[in-house]
């Protein structure tokens, strides 16, 4: 009997948002946003600078208030979760973490796991350091590491928060690979992909379209706080869409590996056209 035909138990969505809107400083930043993150999904959040990716992630992370009952986490309204409880299920990597104090890699990762036996904590830290290739810096001061190395340390801290803990898990990662070299980008995303198991969903803001295409199950393309395209990499990474949203001229090739690859092309049609197109586009 083929395994893939056994009916899956319907699992509740990890995260559901229902028409959320976020204002900052009196300006609407995110408008009328509804989406669902299902267990096992790695969703890439795409969009030009200022599209509202970080704002959305911060709202889902509980930093910015959203109207009650509009966000549900594991079937419960987000606001009904206790702060300390949700931290065992939801881990967040901000776009920027600036540490100026003399803490070592080990000490920083340990922050993700405050209440744990010392033995267990060191084992988890060791495993995460090995997986993210930072074991060499175990006892170095984090502020003296390179940007990409620091990013991996922060990611390890974030993962420590949920490592080996009971599901459900939601990982909100805001540009967690932006400072990494290509090999480490691959390494990190392979690890993230492995995490996306039953009971776990990941929402990852990325700028690298090909990285998103290679690893994400679904892409969500944001522009001016609204979702303008959503679906598989093949559905979202379309030259017309990318030109409208980013003002990027490109062609898209289907790779034999099974995902599309975006290749920017020389701007034969002048880039100055792009903003004009944007403005004339209906934003609804």
């Amino acid at each position: 009997m083929p395994d893939n035909l056994t009916p899956l138990q319907p699992q509740p969505a990890i995260l559901e948002t229902h028409s959320i809107a976020i204002c900052l400083g009196g300006h609407p930043i995110v408008e009328d946003l509804s989406f669902t993150l299902r267990p096992g999904e790695l969703v890439a959040l795409l969009g030009p600078n200022g599209a509202g990716k970080s704002t959305l992630i911060r709202a889902l992370a509980g930093e910015i208030d959203v109207p009650p009952d509009r966000v549900r986490f594991a079937g419960r309204a987000m606001r009904d979760w206790r702060r300390a409880d949700i931290a065992r299920h939801r881990a967040v990597m901000p776009q920027k973490v600036d540490l100026q104090f003399p803490m070592t890699t080990r000490e920083v990762i340990a922050l993700g796991r405050p209440r744990e036996s010392a033995e267990n904590r060191q084992r988890i830290i060791g495993e995460l350091m090995a997986r993210l290739d930072i074991a060499r810096f175990a006892d170095r001061l984090v502020p003296t590491l390179s940007g990409g190395e620091q990013q991996r340390v922060q990611l390890a801290r974030v993962l420590a928060q949920i490592w080996e803990r009971p599901a459900p898990h939601l990982l909100l990662l805001d540009e967690c690979s932006s400072a990494l070299d290509p090999a480490h980008q691959q390494l990190i995303f392979r690890e993230l992909k492995q995490l996306a198991a039953p009971g776990v969903a990941l929402l990852v803001a990325v700028h690298d379209l090909n990285l998103a295409s290679q690893f994400a199950d679904r892409l969500m393309l944001l522009q001016s706080g609204r979702v303008v395209a959503e679906g598989t990499p093949g559905e979202v990474l379309v030259p017309d869409t990318l030109r409208d949203v980013y003002g990027l001229t490109c062609r898209v090739e289907a790779l034999p590996e099974g995902y599309p690859m975006v290749i920017p092309t020389p701007e034969s049609e002048s880039r100055a056209n792009a903003p004009g197109r944007l403005r004339s586009m209906p934003t609804g």
């Binding site: 300390a84 922050l111 405050p114």
Partner: protein
């Protein structure tokens, strides 16, 4: 690529060293001064339960012990509060004075010193010998409260605003203090100078009973904030993601620092540098984690202040230097030395 790892003092060694320093400083503090009492003599007296009625007994039990305890508590509170606020502000250069507690206390104290015979005569008569410390305590905690209120908007307290509000309030309170000194006569000016440079010379048991509980409370409660403050070093949002209630952490740290430092300043005057230098130095030895750092600051701060107090009364005996002056004289160059060593390392 360099691979230099940091090595940290192991807690038993580190705490042991600080404890020995505190014990040595305490013994020095009990025996030295204008009326020297040999260590053996103190032990003798202690073994006999301080039953004999000698000058030495009076000096040790009624002058030096309260002075030692007050100095130790004050040093511990200043250093621990410094560490709390440096963690909260994520700035290794933060000082307990930044939230306005010292400048507010100074303004109130100077007002009592200068206007005690005129404008504030009623208060001085009413509160008697407690007029100054009570006013200083109230002034210190009130200015902190004002800074807090300014920084608290829409249910959120902005740490950056709190820092800026503290700076502005310090400037205003400093101007007020400056204005008052114009009205001061010679004797007021002298006690004002003395107060603003800090002193343990007038420490009595009564001071300890009044100010001690606040300081002890600060020292006992502060460790509860250790874990959340560790998270704060990554920024307030990260502390929130890790499940800590950031509003309570902010409230707690500011309240503890204001009450502890307010009480300390009220009875000892302004003593600078401890709150800045001790956490900074101990962070290099114990690491930035607050669970080790806060107790180390308590030990180190008290050892340093007790030692400085010994110097204050020995150097120009039988007269005394203000302890704040000694701290600045010791702490300033030492801090510079630390900076230079880092610079050229």
């Amino acid at each position: 690529m360099h691979t230099d790892s940091v090595t940290r003092l192991s807690p038993p060694v580190g705490y042991g060293g600080l404890a020995i320093a505190l014990v040595v400083a305490s013994i020095l503090s009990l025996s030295s001064g204008a009326y020297p009492v040999a260590v053996g003599q103190i032990i003798d007296m202690a073994l006999r339960g301080f039953s004999d009625d000698t000058t030495a007994r009076f000096v040790v039990l009624d002058v030096r012990v309260p002075r030692l305890l007050l100095g130790a508590l004050t040093g511990a509170v200043l250093a621990v509060s410094g560490a709390l606020l440096q963690g909260l502000f994520r700035n290794p250069l933060a000082d307990p004075g930044l939230i306005g507690v010292s400048s507010g206390a100074a303004l109130a104290a100077v007002a009592v010193i200068v206007l005690g015979g005129s404008g504030l005569a009623g208060w001085s008569q009413f509160a008697g010998q407690w007029a100054l410390p009570l006013a200083a305590f109230a002034g210190g905690t009130m200015t902190t409260l004002i800074a807090w209120k300014i920084a608290h908007q829409q249910g959120q307290t902005s740490v950056a605003l709190l820092l800026l509000a503290g700076i502005a309030i310090n400037a205003i309170a400093g101007a007020g203090t400056g204005l008052l000194t114009y009205y001061a006569d010679d004797s007021a000016l002298r006690s004002l100078t003395f107060w603003s440079m800090g002193s343990l010379a007038h420490a009595r048991w009564a001071d300890l009973w009044v100010a001690g509980p606040w300081m002890v409370a600060t020292l006992l409660i502060a460790p509860l904030l250790a874990r959340p403050l560790d998270a704060f070093l990554m920024g307030e949002p990260v502390a929130g993601h890790l499940g800590y209630s950031t509003n309570w952490v902010k409230r707690g740290a500011v309240l503890l620092a204001a009450l502890g430092v307010g009480a300390a300043v009220a009875v000892t005057g302004l003593i600078g540098f401890v709150g800045l230098v001790v956490p900074h130095l101990l962070r290099q030895l114990f690491g930035a984690g607050h669970r080790l750092l806060l107790p180390a600051c308590a030990l180190g701060g008290s050892a340093l202040l007790v030692l400085a107090d010994c110097l204050a009364r020995v150097v120009v005996a039988p007269a005394e230097l203000p302890i704040g002056l000694v701290m600045a004289l010791l702490g300033g160059p030492f801090f510079l030395f630390l900076l230079m060593r880092h610079r050229f390392a």
